[in-house]
Structures are given as C-alpha cells and as structure tokens.
Symmetry: C2
Subunit: 415 residues, 2 copies
C-alpha cells in the first residue's frame, strides 16, 4: 500500500493521559484511536495487526479440533440469574430494553453452556469444543494501560465439554501447549511463562500465561529451568516450583496474556448439563474455559517489543512485511522505486511504500515508529550502486543489497 | 469436516414463534440459534456462511480502495448530541456507566466523521474511504423475520470523504456497481434491483438494493428493461422509471439488502469537517455512506433460495463445496468413502462428510435441509459400478460419475 494514501499519519505526541507505553506508541504511529477511556478504534494498520493475531489464534484453535461460533454480546438477565452471577460480576454493563434486563457479555459461560447442551444427548456427542473471536465488554472502574485493560476489547474464548475429568485433563494439557505456540508465533515465546494462579470452587489452580516486562501489572515468581511461575496471589500456599520443587524463585513484573481454567461443574450443574453414558446412566459434564484477549495481546507485544524510537513488530503479526522508503527527488529514480514496489507486491510480499513528499528524516522516524520488521531504502545513493539499503528494525547497521539479488535475499529472510 | 463431530444436529421443528422462512430453515438446519428476540448465535455452519459473505464484501470494498477499520460499539452521548440524533434515533440502546450516557452503535457517522477528520488537513488528504465489518445494535420494537431484522446483527458500513461533490458522485457510481457485483456473487444478482428511495436534507434520493421475493417487507415498482425500481414511499413523487421514463412499472414484494446514501454535509457540518484547497481556502467535505447488513444478506439468500426440503446455497457462500454421504454399512466400503473424503480435502475442496450411523433417509433429508450445492453419495450400489452418485441441490436427477474421473468432473464444476 502507498503511504501517501494511508488514512493515518503519525503524531509526535498524544494526550499525556495515555500513560502506558503501548497506548502512546500505538496512537502516535496511527494504529489505534481513543474514543473514550478504555474504548479504541482500530485504524488500518492496527486492524491489520489485530487480524494477523486473530488469524494465528484461529489456526491454532482449529488445530485443537475446536469449532468456531459467534455468540451475541447482548445477553438476558435470566441466563445470569441461573448461575447467580448477575449480582456478583462487578464489571457487567447492564441496560434495560422493552422491560427486560440485559447485559453486554464480559464472558460467555452463561450462553455457551445451554447452547452446546442443546446438542449433547449421549456419550457419542462428547467431547465438544467451541470457540469464538468476539468483542467483549467490561465496565472497568479505571481503565488504563491502553489495550491491556479496555472496557470494549477483542477476545478469543474457548469452551470444552467432556464425558470424563480425565478427558478434560488431557485436553487442558493440549490447550496449554497450543497457547505456548500462539505466544511463540506472536514473538513473546521467550518471555512468557505458564503461571499457577488461584482456582475456584472445583479446582485448586487455574493457569495464566504471563509475559515478563518491567511495567507489568502482575508480580510472578519464576523457576527459569522449568519455565514455570507462581502468581503472587498463591505464593503463600504454593511457595515452590510445581515442577522441580525448588524454592529459588525469581520475582518479576509481568502482563497476563492468557488464562485457562478447569470450570469442572461450576456451569454445567446450574444448567443441568448431563449426558447418557453407554449404560444409559445420566452423567455430569466437566467443562474447561480458555481465554485469550487478542487486543490485549497486541498491547502486550508493543509493551515488550519497542525501543525509544518506536515499535518492533515480530514478523508474523507485523502490519506489513516490508517498509519501502523512496528518498529520491528525481522522477526517474522515484519511478524505479515504484517499479520495485510493484515487483515486491507481485511476489506476494506485503509492502508499505513510503512515496510521500517529505524529508528523509521524517520517513526514517516514521518507519522506526511504525516498526515494520524490514526496511528497504531506495535513494540516489543506493541506485548509484545498483542497490537497495536493507535494515532490520532494531538492528544497528544497514547493508546494501544489489537490486538483482534482492528477491533472493528476501526469500532467504523467509518472505 | 466429519458430520459425526459437528456441534449441531438438524431439528425437525423449531418454535412456531419463528414465522419467517429464513429463521425456520436456518435454525432447523443448525446454522443459527436464537438467544432472544432478534438476537442469534452463529453456529459452525452459520459462521462459515457469514464469513464467506463477509469475505466477498471485504474483497469488493478493498477493490474500491477503501481501508478497513474497526470502530467501537460503545459510543458516548456527546458525539450524538453534536448531530442532534441522541433524541431522534428511536432504535438506540442506551445505558449509563460511570455517570456517563452511552449508546450501542446502530451506525457510525458520529464516530467516523471526527475520526477521519483528524487525519484530513489539505486537498492532498482527499478522497478517503473507510469501512468496517462489525456487530451493530438496534432496539427494534418488534424484531421478526429472523436474520432480516435483528436487534444485534452484522453489518458492513463504508464512509467516503471527498474534496468535491463531483468526486462523491463518481465514487457513488462505483460503489453502486460494486454492490451489484456483491449480490451477483451471493447468488441474488438476477433478483436484485437498484431502487430509488427517499433522500434526506441534502439529497433528493437515496438508493436501496432490493431483492424480490413474495414475502418481502417492502413494495417496489420495477422497470425490468432498465433493471431499476422505485420504492413505494417515493412513487407519488417519482412515478416513472428514472432510466427510460416509462410509467409501466411492475409491483413486487422485496427485501432490502443494501442502502447507499449521499450524506453530503449532514455530518461534516456539525463536526466542522473541512480541508484547505490548493489556494489555502477552507472547503466543506461532502460525504457518502454505504450500508450492507451481512447477516441480513444471509437471511435474504435463504428467503429467496430454498424449496420445501431446505436451503439451496449459491456456490460462493455455501458452508462447504461438497456434501459427501457414506451410506454403506460394510466396513471396507466405509473405508473407501473415508479415503475419498481425504482425497477431496487434499484437493482443496471443502467437504462435509456424513459418516454418521443413521439411515440413508435421514442423511438425504439432512443434506437437502443443509443445502450444500453438490451432493456425492457413496454406497454399496455406486461402488458396485466403481462410481459415485452426483446430484446438484435443486436438480431433479442424480448421475453416476466414475470414481476415476470424479476429480476431473469436480474440476469442470469449478471446484
């Protein structure tokens, strides 16, 4: 895409109310626009990133055999009265319409349990797993931290239904491995820890995925060899590594990027969800739920992967593969840059092409702020050497690559 | 996908409250599930159709040079007070949170106008067009007609911003052509008419796209040679075809599947949206808006394309390309059917594979109800002739195609 036609422009500054690094950088670079506290619009560059994250999540959910559905945001109070959560979930947005109490879904256990239950009769209908990628609403008292804690945000929620607890346990392990693969693909693998956290009525622990960063909201205690951590909230009950049992844990600040939970019978009981086993005996259905905020993950990536000049997107979630900067004022050289842009596109490479009439300094600064992984510079100087200047975002040095071998070079980079 | 693992099962009957054909068929076949009046969950088959429709819409919007964004559902009253619509739009869902009046977006002029305005300074920043595909909310008094008129529904809304009215006029023509292509790709081309409807303060007419069907909510008057129509509401002012001027118009019932509108200055004025022209003179910005309900379109397709046995999906929006029915009770023949299923998938063909243990009659009835365009039957009888039985949904007769030439046959069918 030509940058001259891009809806957004970068900004030197945004409101000081945006204290968090992710909101500052994402707003300045034109990825998101704040409508009100905790509520953002995703602009062209931002929606590209969000879609790429959600594409990864969708691929990985499908690989678990989960089926994608889409449930409503508007939910009736009746459903929430069944579980008693209408009065206990303090972040519910509620409204009244046509004499009926409604809420905006902050999560979907109350909807998915009877919905899936309607299609389960016997053991032959189990296991089942469904997920959705959807907009959720939480009336947070003080939304801060940009995309990390929004009032309206994007989330993937997966729910699983099993004939036996053993089957839930095995599925839960598979989901754990899948989550780690998602964070790996999103560039947070090395910094993300499977973390033990508090459970509920039916489970001793739930598990979080925590990505360490100096400005994280949470405090966790890490066992580096086991790649496991303990959330501060349960440290007193569980002061040692659940893997190797060492008590030599390292305190770190972290951001929660995912949360998985064995719900067991917490929701299947109130909704009377049962199945008939092969002896025709009625049995309870243990459930699991597995959340992952896709917009929160976008914020976490920026929080962790940036420098003083801007964002440093990991390859698989970057809005474009390549940022091509044309710096020449000579029409014949600009034409050559445009030709290269077309050639890259034909090769299936996603290119943001900075064809704007502005200074080289401005283009370099914008490229660093926007943070596309690979920068190509086409200028009078590089053309004199039949070359393009290539620089990885975050690398110190740039290199010249001859125009002739550029495609081969990009191919070697995995593009 | 194997049908034995599909979340949903078909149902013989659904609530009689669902009077509309689309809701009856979509619920019975397992495409959607009603949570409350006007609010539906999209189940695995239904979400596949919705995604295919939205994929077509996205491709066509991108071909118009429009940039995709995603705006919030939660909107502050302040924005609506600027245009005076807080008290005049009667379908607004409103709520109060943290002492602030909010609404759930039924449309996004109040959000997109200042948002895009923030990136427009001079004539060089025009034209711009942005769109989103998003969940919308309308507090309809009496939601009926299934997916045709929901309280929570999916919609694509495109907004364009221009330096001159002439440029808006040209873009409006391009969008009109694009809309007709979308309906063509969704199988409604022959039955869909560009229809003149009432305008607003700044425009004499708006335009609707109306698909004729006996149970449509609207009444239109058609000029068949011009493929144009007049909505009843403006018939008195415009009793002749806007093309050939004939007054020989044919009355028909129809469903509105799209609506486009020259907003002109209706929203740019209250939000003080202007640009500097090449003489540095401040100029007003005329706008266009272009709506298309993607879930409504799904309902309209079913309303128009069905028979007494079920849905008849057009190819490009069908949940799967092929429905493969395995009817044999012999393990070695079932194994062959499974082999064929795998082979079709490897060829990139989307297959629903009915591997369930149930009667042939049940499988045939479900296939007709679900409505995948091409049905393949693999049974003892067909295997005895080294063949597969092939039948198009809606065709009277089935044909035998030899297993050897099946791939070639499917290729000829454009799969």
């Amino acid at each position: 895409m030509k940058q001259s036609g891009l809806l957004t422009k970068t900004r030197k500054e945004v409101s000081q109310q945006e204290a968090s690094v992710n909101a500052q950088l994402l707003e300045r670079a034109g990825y998101v626009n704040k409508l009100m506290a905790g509520v953002y619009s995703y602009l062209p560059l931002g929606l590209r990133v969000l879609h790429k994250i959600e594409h990864i999540v969708r691929e990985e959910m499908n690989s678990l055999g989960a089926q994608e559905i889409l449930m409503p945001a508007l939910q009736p109070r009746d459903s929430w009265d069944v579980t008693g959560r209408w009065n206990t979930v303090d972040v519910l947005y509620t409204l009244k319409a046509h004499e009926r109490d409604l809420c905006l879904g902050p999560t979907h256990e109350e909807i998915v349990t009877p919905l899936v239950g309607g299609y389960i009769a016997s053991y032959k209908d189990l296991p089942r797993a469904v997920y959705q990628i959807q907009t959720k609403f939480r009336n947070e008292a003080r939304p801060k931290s940009g995309l990390l804690r929004g009032r309206e945000f994007r989330m993937k929620d997966l729910y699983s239904f099993h004939a036996q607890e053993k089957d839930l346990d095995e599925y839960y392990e598979k989901v754990t491995a899948t989550y780690l693969r998602i964070f790996e693909r999103c560039g947070l693998g090395a910094l993300t820890y499977l973390t033990y956290a508090s459970g509920g009525i039916f489970s001793k622990y739930s598990h979080e995925f925590q990505t360490i960063t100096p400005f994280g909201e949470d405090t966790i205690f890490i066992c580096e060899p086991c790649k496991l951590a303990i959330n501060q909230e349960i440290l007193q009950d569980q002061p040692t590594c659940p893997g190797c049992k060492t008590d030599q844990l390292v305190e770190q600040k972290a951001i929660e990027v995912g949360n998985i939970f064995k719900l067991m019978y917490r929701f299947s009981h109130p909704f009377s969800l049962t199945y008939s086993d092969d002896q025709n005996v009625s049995r309870d259905i243990p459930m699991g739920c597995y959340g992952l905020g896709t917009s929160r993950l976008m914020g976490a990536i920026v929080e962790v992967l940036h420098d003083e000049r801007g964002i440093m997107w990991p390859r698989e979630v970057a809005p474009f593969n390549v940022h091509l900067l044309s710096l020449s004022k000579k029409p014949e050289i600009s034409a050559q840059a445009h030709e290269l842009y077309v050639r890259l596109q034909h090769a299936g490479i996603e290119v943001l092409y900075d064809d704007r009439e502005c200074s080289a300094g401005e283009k370099f600064a914008d490229a660093d702020l926007i943070g596309i992984p690979l920068r190509l510079v086409f200028s009078d100087k590089t053309v004199a050497q039949d070359s393009v200047e290539v620089k990885m975002r975050g690398a110190q040095d740039a290199n010249l690559v001859s125009i002739e071998t550029l495609m081969e070079f990009l191919c070697q980079q995995g593009l």
